[in-house]
């Protein structure tokens, strides 16, 4: 069983394992691994699967909470939402594949996160996406990535019938060479249908469901191939996975029916590292062994080698374990849904993952070596000795009148209307959506009993680049603020950490600081992390991307009908600015337009004061006292006021508190709210809704139509 392509000593290096890692394998196994075994180990011990540089750090995140049902370590986390129902959710990245082929990369990113959610038994009910690209105005490539990624997300989500209800997009030079595509999914399940992935029961049957297995994603492991691929055979090794939402829709309905009928012991989706990862994790979590027979696996290509079958990343496949007496009924359900189902192995005593091919064992590895023995590296953080990021091109010089500044901000890439994007998504299929994009600060989905869940996704890389500790905390506070504006109380959080090369001390420092910031904010707000994802090595020769922790938060509100809105509702209403809002120009959108680099400490946050204002906003939105609520985020108070005017189609006359910089920022701490004068008694009233323009005393006066035109024009033509 030797490889013809390279000597034994070099195999491991070509597969991406270090000499030290290979030595560790030899020591743990007590022998030399065969080709298939080495391929499996190289993937399970990769950064992507093994989380070598982040595992230890992630332990810092709080994972306990009174609503928690499934925590990190399962395919998706889940929280109780009342009425016997649970919401499962997770965010994942698909950054590198999307840079290669953005349509399919984004589409299969959505496909993958959907599978993670229905793998725990929840019906996917919403998708959100968090995207980062270079500046489309300056880069044709970034325009191309943006347009194709949006099309891919729409293609997959719309076709499979899961609404895309929210998201965010940021444009920064920093992401020019490394775009970020993070996809979040929420699913709904009765508690009784939630399932874990741990395999159990020696003698139980392992069944593969879904698409045929082909050569997708084999990539680096192809050095092990017995035959040299000739010219023209490159097509046989597709580096791009093609998503098929129709197959996944059938797979989804099939799996949910199998669970409703209680025919499964456990369920796991096949993602990165395909069968190897799925089987290893199922066996590992269950403390059992698994034996697979590769000759049973339905293949797309006739002549696939064992290692190819084990590492294939063909999409739309799930692995499940069932008791032998349930297999007949299981196959009937699968046939009804036109889902291919094949028994490919069994659960065993002991802890071996054994792979058979034509009667011979081509791999026999202790599961502990695949999973537990994967090294975890300590980071060596060092604060950067000089500024890591350059200055953006200045668009303003600082002398412009405030009205012009406001229009420039509204039309800028990071603030402009995302309508050209979200009109390509279906936000209403499944009939739960109560607040669509642009109507409120968070998406709101109704539950059968009249209550609702709210969800928001946030993260500002520029601010985290300035100050990773406080910037990361801000992402948590901003999500919570978005939820409060619709009247929702946070239940749990998922996060995706998008960073550069962690082996570089300054990136390690960013990572450590950011995780500490996230952890502190989560603890302060009592919101557990239910799961998440890490994407490292997002780096170009010019340097790393902005450190970009993306946070997705799910909350609950008692009445769907009372969900908050962001637009001013009624002429004559009073407007108040509430919250411990002491903003600063550091890291603000205006500082970007002025051509300032992302440098400087962000304003300190007082978690206690934030908790108080979140509760106050939440309560008054729920009671109806606030007819509109909008958190002050990028662009500061002036932009927030403009957004309220545009959404409501109403003007406003306000006077800002003395000394308040209208464009300075402090996410999660300030809110623009409106309601009757009586309802807002006791709050700092700054003005009144009415007229057809936004007038900020002593600062600017701009017609709402002009505000809207500036905002609407920002992204059009690019997507």
């Amino acid at each position: 069983m030797s490889s013809s392509a390279s000597s034994l000593e070099e195999r491991h290096r070509q597969l991406g394992l270090t000499d030290g890692e290979y030595a560790r394998i030899l020591e743990r196994l007590g022998r030399t691994p065969g080709d298939v075994e080495l391929a499996m180990l190289s993937l399970m011990w990769s950064e992507h699967c093994g989380y070598k540089h982040s595992r230890r750090l992630l332990r810092r995140l709080p994972t306990e909470g009174r609503h928690l049902l499934l925590g990190p370590g399962e395919n998706a986390g889940a929280v109780d939402v009342g009425g016997g129902l649970a919401v499962a959710f997770k965010v994942e990245s698909h950054n590198h594949p999307s840079a290669v082929e953005p349509f399919q990369g984004a589409a299969t990113g959505v496909g993958g996160i959907l599978r993670d959610v229905f793998a725990v038994g929840a019906r996917p009910i919403a998708v959100l996406d968090s995207l980062r690209f270079g500046e489309p105005g300056a880069s044709e490539r970034s325009r191309y990535l943006l347009e194709r990624a949006v099309a891919g997300i729409g293609f997959y989500g719309n076709s499979i019938g899961v609404p895309t209800v929210g998201g965010e997009i940021y444009f920064e030079d920093s992401y020019e060479a490394n775009c970020l595509i993070n996809a979040m999914c929420l699913g709904l399940a009765p508690h009784s249908r939630l399932i874990r992935s741990a395999a159990a029961g020696a003698g139980n049957v392992v069944v593969l469901l879904g698409a045929l297995t082909g050569r997708d994603g084999i990539g680096g492991a192809s050095v092990l191939a017995s035959a040299e691929l000739g010219e023209g055979d490159e097509a046989k090794r597709p580096s791009v996975q093609i998503g098929d939402p129709f197959t996944e829709k059938k797979l989804l309905e099939c799996c949910l029916e199998l669970l409703d009928r209680e025919l499964l012991v456990s369920l796991q989706d096949l993602g990165a590292a395909g069968l190897t990862s799925a089987a290893s994790e199922m066996a590992g979590r269950g403390g059992v062994g698994i034996t697979l027979d590769l000759c049973q696996i339905p293949l797309r290509e006739a002549d696939m080698e064992p290692f190819e079958i084990m590492v294939s990343e063909s999409q739309e496949r799930m692995l499940c374990v069932a008791r032998p007496e349930c297999v007949g009924a299981l196959l009937d359900v699968c046939e009804r849904w036109e889902v291919l189902a094949t028994t490919i192995g069994c659960v065993t005593e002991g802890d071996s993952l054994t792979v058979l091919h034509r009667g011979m064992a081509v791999a026999e590895l202790p599961v502990s070596v695949l999973i537990d023995d994967c090294p975890a590296y300590d980071l060596q953080p060092e604060p950067p000795s000089s500024d890591l990021y350059g200055s953006p091109a200045a668009v303003l010089n600082g002398d412009e009148p405030a009205g012009e500044v406001l229009l420039a901000l509204l039309g800028s890439g990071n603030l402009a209307s995302r309508r050209p994007v979200f009109e390509q998504y279906d936000p209403i299929v499944q009939s739960r959506t109560v607040r669509r994009p642009d109507e409120a600060d968070a998406a709101v989905l109704s539950l059968p009993d009249g209550s609702a869940i709210a969800v928001s996704i946030d993260g500002n890389g520029r601010r985290v680049a300035c100050d990773p500790l406080r910037g990361a905390a801000e992402a948590v506070y901003e999500c919570a603020a978005n939820l409060a504006c619709v009247g929702a109380e946070p239940l749990g959080l998922t996060n995706c950490l998008n960073f550069g090369n962690p082996e570089k001390p300054h990136v390690a420092w960013q990572l450590v600081q950011a995780v500490e910031g996230l952890a502190g904010a989560c603890e302060a707000l009592d919101v557990p992390v239910v799961g998440g994802n890490v994407s490292l090595y997002n780096e170009a020769p010019s340097g790393p991307i902005f450190p970009t922790p993306v946070v997705g938060m799910v909350g609950k509100l008692p009445s769907a009908g009372r969900a908050g809105r962001l637009g001013f509702a009624q002429a004559g209403d009073s407007i108040a600015l509430v919250g411990p809002f002491s903003p600063s120009p550091v890291g603000s959108e205006l500082s970007k337009l002025l051509g300032r680099p992302p440098v400087g400490a962000l304003p300190e946050a007082d978690p206690g004061a934030i908790r108080v204002v979140l509760e106050a906003v939440r309560a008054r939105v729920r009671s109806g006292a606030f007819r509109s609520a909008h958190d002050i985020a990028e662009g500061g108070a002036a932009v927030a006021l403009a957004e309220c005017c545009i959404a409501g189609g109403l003007g406003a006359s306000v006077r800002l508190p003395l000394g308040l910089d209208p464009f300075a920022e402090a996410p999660g701490r300030g809110f623009i709210v409106s309601g009757s004068r009586e309802a807002l008694a006791g709050l700092v009233i700054i003005g009144e809704v009415g007229g057809d323009g936004l007038r900020i005393d002593g600062l600017l006066e701009v017609a709402v139509s002009a505000l809207r035109a500036a905002r609407d024009g920002g992204l059009s033509g690019w997507v």
């Binding site: 829709k249 059938k250 849904w337 979200f422 009109e423 390509q424 209403i428 009939s431 109704s446 769907a560």
Partner: protein, 225 residues
Amino acid sequence: MKFGIVRFPGSCDDIDALQAAARVGDAVLLWHADHDLQGVDAVIVPGGFSYGDYLRAGAIARFAPVMAEVEEFARAGGLVLGICNGFQVLCEAGLLPGALLPNLSLKFVFRQVELSVVRADGPFTGACAAGDRLSIPVKHTTGRFYAPELELDRLEDGGQVLLLYAPGHNPNGSRRDIAGVCNEAGNVFGLMPHPEHAVDLLAGSADGLKIFESMRAHVEQRVLA
């Protein structure tokens, strides 16, 4: 009043249609592989991506086993409503005139649009008044209604055009702003907008309910006659 909603592999808005119809009468799902319409009074062919929109939207679904029953039901005068993908299926099946082509923008479009009611008699718009405006969302990639010019004249003159996109609201370039058409006999109706997503003010508009109510009124009237 009993509605039957067909469910193909890949149907997405089937449950939405079921829930909407259930506000007005009883509603059941009709599985694509069955030959049983379960004695329903009206059939709804829902939105979604039946068979992945492979080959052409609706091209494969129209040959599903249950469609043989639906075609016979339609020939006998039964009410058949096709929504979005359902409209595409009915055109492919020849139960409705014309065809649906890719949107002019070549992109998927989701938008809340205004429709204007051309005819307010008949089983699908009887609960409306001529000239009524209905606020109903569209969400599709292949919704541009097409028929040859002479056919379009015939449809307009024959009163087969029931709904138009109001001026400025045509999201896909449909010829003559046609949003929904019925067959000559008036018992089969197809439209690209989604009335099942406009049945609750909580979700934005309840104008779509009128189409379901029209169908019920028609069936109840027929029973009484």
